[in-house]
């Protein structure tokens, strides 16, 4: 029997072809590994720097609401512990006594945060003077000092004292800003897309509009900040640093994303559905309302969520409209001064103290977690409602 199918093993041209294929596959796999390596290094670095901020060192002290503490809170703490207890934990005692005079003279026990230097010492980031180090180690051994989950990071706003600083006010600011963005950009974006896709004639004017919308999506975000500054603050007098101006500015930025994704979602509805509806005697609006919109809604929502997620991570335009501010108290309305999560991270990243380095990492972890959740929601929506024709 003549074997014709196995001879290629010795053909140099064919062997070279296989070698090239193997080599190319190798390059691709190497590229993939590099990409994953970078992502892995990034996450490891952020998490290793940031996770310790979710814990804090507290000390059990007896607070004595004596006469001196009515003027200066620090005097409520025994003298040898005064350089251990955080100033921020006791500075509100005079105010507390003024508001509740019946508390004057009482003593009570409480777990209060220690100063950031000691907190950092226990986290292995900083050295202490030997004497102080011995003292806190002894307290730790007695069980007077403990390491506990840092709820305050989620429930308090920014502070100049790192042991008290949290992301609450920035998170509230982010929610308000995104709410304004959504209310502003969603209806305008969806209606524009419906007009362009379903109603507008295909002429020079609509083509120009289309090209411009696509270009707008590629404009650097800081330009939108300048636009927001010029239009909203200087022309319309919207309060600077407020969630309103931030939300409107991010709305400008999100608008083209929503328009483009909505148009894609509308376009994915097959034409026979439209023709069928027209042939039943539907007007154009009835076709859109009853047939096209319900079918494209998941796509529209997915695009909106992705647009919002992008807006949420945006910092540059917000710097221009003054949202990079020191905001210890959470804003209560969209007109109050506010900051947002990425801007808070930016502020902390500019602080030289070690304690703020871990805050920066923790802020990034929270931000990433929220963004991943939003993107997962978008993927889930798309998967769940995806239709095939």
């Amino acid at each position: 029997m003549q074997r014709r199918l196995t001879g290629s093993a010795n053909d140099p041209r064919i062997r070279a072809r296989y070698r090239r294929e193997t080599r190319f596959k190798g390059y691709s796999i190497a590229a993939l590994f590099v990409a994953f390596g970078i992502i892995f290094a990034f996450f490891t670095d952020i998490i290793s720097q940031g996770y310790s901020a979710f814990w804090r060192t507290e000390i059990n002290v007896t607070l004595d609401y004596n006469e001196r503490a009515e003027r200066i809170g620090r005097f409520a703490v025994a003298e040898d512990l005064r350089q251990i207890v955080s100033r921020g934990a006791v500075r509100s005692i005079p105010l507390e006594i003024r508001n509740h005079p019946e508390r004057a003279g009482i003593t009570r026990e409480a777990w209060v945060p220690v100063t950031s230097r000691i907190d950092q010492y226990f986290k292995g980031n900083e050295e202490l003077a030997p004497e102080l180090a011995r003292q806190v180690e002894a307290l730790k051994a007695e069980g007077v000092i403990r390491n506990t989950f840092n709820w305050a990071f989620f429930t308090s706003g920014d502070s100049k004292l790192p042991e008290l600083a949290g992301i609450f006010s920035a998170a509230v600011g982010s929610i308000l800003v995104l709410a304004v963005t959504l209310v502003f950009a969603f209806p305008i974006g969806v209606m524009s897309a419906i007009y362009l896709e379903e109603f507008a004639p295909d002429n020079r004017l609509t083509q120009i509009i289309e090209v411009n919308i696509n270009n707008l999506a590629a404009v650097p975000s800081i330009i939108f900040g300048l636009l927001g500054l010029a239009v909203f603050i200087n022309t319309f007098g919207v309060p600077r640093s407020s969630a309103l101006v931030g939300g409107l500015t991010l709305g400008l930025m999100t608008l083209p994303i929503i328009i483009i994704s909505t148009r894609a979602a509308l376009r994915s509805v097959p034409d026979p559905i439209r023709l069928g509806a027209f042939a039943m005697g539907c007007s154009r609006w009835q076709v859109v309302r009853d047939h096209v919109l319900p079918l494209s809604l998941p796509g529209i929502l997915t695009g909106t969520i992705i647009g919002l997620a992008q807006a949420m991570g945006e910092t540059a335009p917000l710097i221009i409209v003054g949202m990079i501010a020191y905001i210890p108290e959470a804003p209560t309305s969209i007109l109050d001064s506010a900051t947002v999560l990425p801007a808070q991270v930016f502020t902390w990243a500019g602080e030289p103290r070690n304690a703020f380095v871990e805050k920066t990492g923790a802020g990034i972890i929270v931000l990433l977690a929220i963004l991943l959740t939003l993107n997962a929601a978008a993927v889930f929506l798309r998967r769940k409602f995806e239709r095939r024709w």
């Binding site: 069928g276 027209f278 039943m280 005697g281």
Partner: protein
């Protein structure tokens, strides 16, 4: 007559047929009264002329088949009959199409109203991705011809019965129309068109996406429907035209070459091109 298209309250049963116009031109076919007629109809897509001076009378309560090779303009012509071409930008139309003698391209005509008189079934079944019930009840509810639940229930049942689908889907009206088989979907689309109570039903190759068995069912249905509706059907399938249509028009290069009753056209064509086409020499 003039107000009929604009005034939906006129009962369709009360409409009187116009006098037959058999002698209007040489291409009139009618022994039956004419339901729709095209007069010197020209159509351009941009600069390209797709229809050249079409004259065709479509008799009432009959099936008129439009045959011809691909790109001959038969589907384009069909879409002129309920003004679906309005949806395509850059289409220009000159000439007239009349429904019971009333020009459907008159500026005062409401297209939405026209389409309730002239329904359409498409090549590929396109049920709405809603329940079978909703597919049929949607348009009557929209046009206000069926409002109460019981009225709609009756309408859904009668439409499905007329489309020969009732026995197959009666117990699952809530399932999506898109889950039916291809032939069932097409009959659902026909039922959907019937539910609007049209006078004319246009069919654009209604069986070309179906298997032979489903095709036979749909053809049977078309045969039954012609007792109540005027049907205009575009088909690629010559046997199908021979089976279902009383009249057949042969289109070629945007013109009507020949129109006659189906038997005559297929057995004794007057034009050489018709004979070449039906004997399979081109197209």
């Amino acid at each position: 007559m003039e107000t009929e298209l604009k005034n939906g309250s006129v009962t369709k049963a009360g409409v009187t047929m116009p006098e037959t116009q058999t002698t209007r031109d040489q291409q009139a076919v009618g022994r039956a009264p004419t339901k729709m007629s095209a007069t010197d109809l020209n159509l351009w897509y941009g600069e390209t002329q797709a229809l050249h001076g079409i004259n065709l009378d479509m008799p009432a309560q009959e099936v008129t088949a439009l045959i011809g090779p691909s790109g001959c303009g038969k589907s384009t012509f069909l879409r002129c009959l309920n003004r679906m071409n309005d949806l395509i930008p850059q289409v220009r139309i000159r000439g007239g199409v009349a429904l019971d003698g009333e020009d459907i391209y008159d500026p005062s005509v409401d297209v939405v109203q026209l389409r309730t008189f002239v329904g359409m079934v498409f090549q590929k079944p396109n049920p709405f991705p809603k329940s079978i019930y909703e597919n049929i009840a949607y348009a009557p509810r929209l046009h206000g011809t069926g409002t109460s639940r019981s009225e709609l229930d009756d309408l859904v049942e009668s439409s499905l019965k007329r489309a020969g689908l009732w026995n197959e889907v009666a117990d699952r009206l809530d399932t999506p129309g898109t889950e039916l088989s291809g032939g069932q979907q097409q009959r659902l689309c026909i039922a959907r068109a019937i539910a609007v109570n049209p006078e004319v039903i246009l069919m654009d190759e209604p069986a070309s996406a179906l298997d032979p068995l489903a095709t036979a069912t749909v053809e049977e249905l078309i045969h039954e429907l012609k007792d109540n509706y005027t049907i205009v059907i575009v088909t690629h399938n010559l046997q199908q035209a021979a089976r279902v249509a009383g009249y057949t028009a042969f289109f070629h290069m945007g013109q009507i070459v020949e129109v006659n009753d189906t038997d005559t056209l297929f057995t004794n064509p007057a034009e050489q091109r018709t004979e070449d086409y039906i004997t399979g020499r081109f197209g």
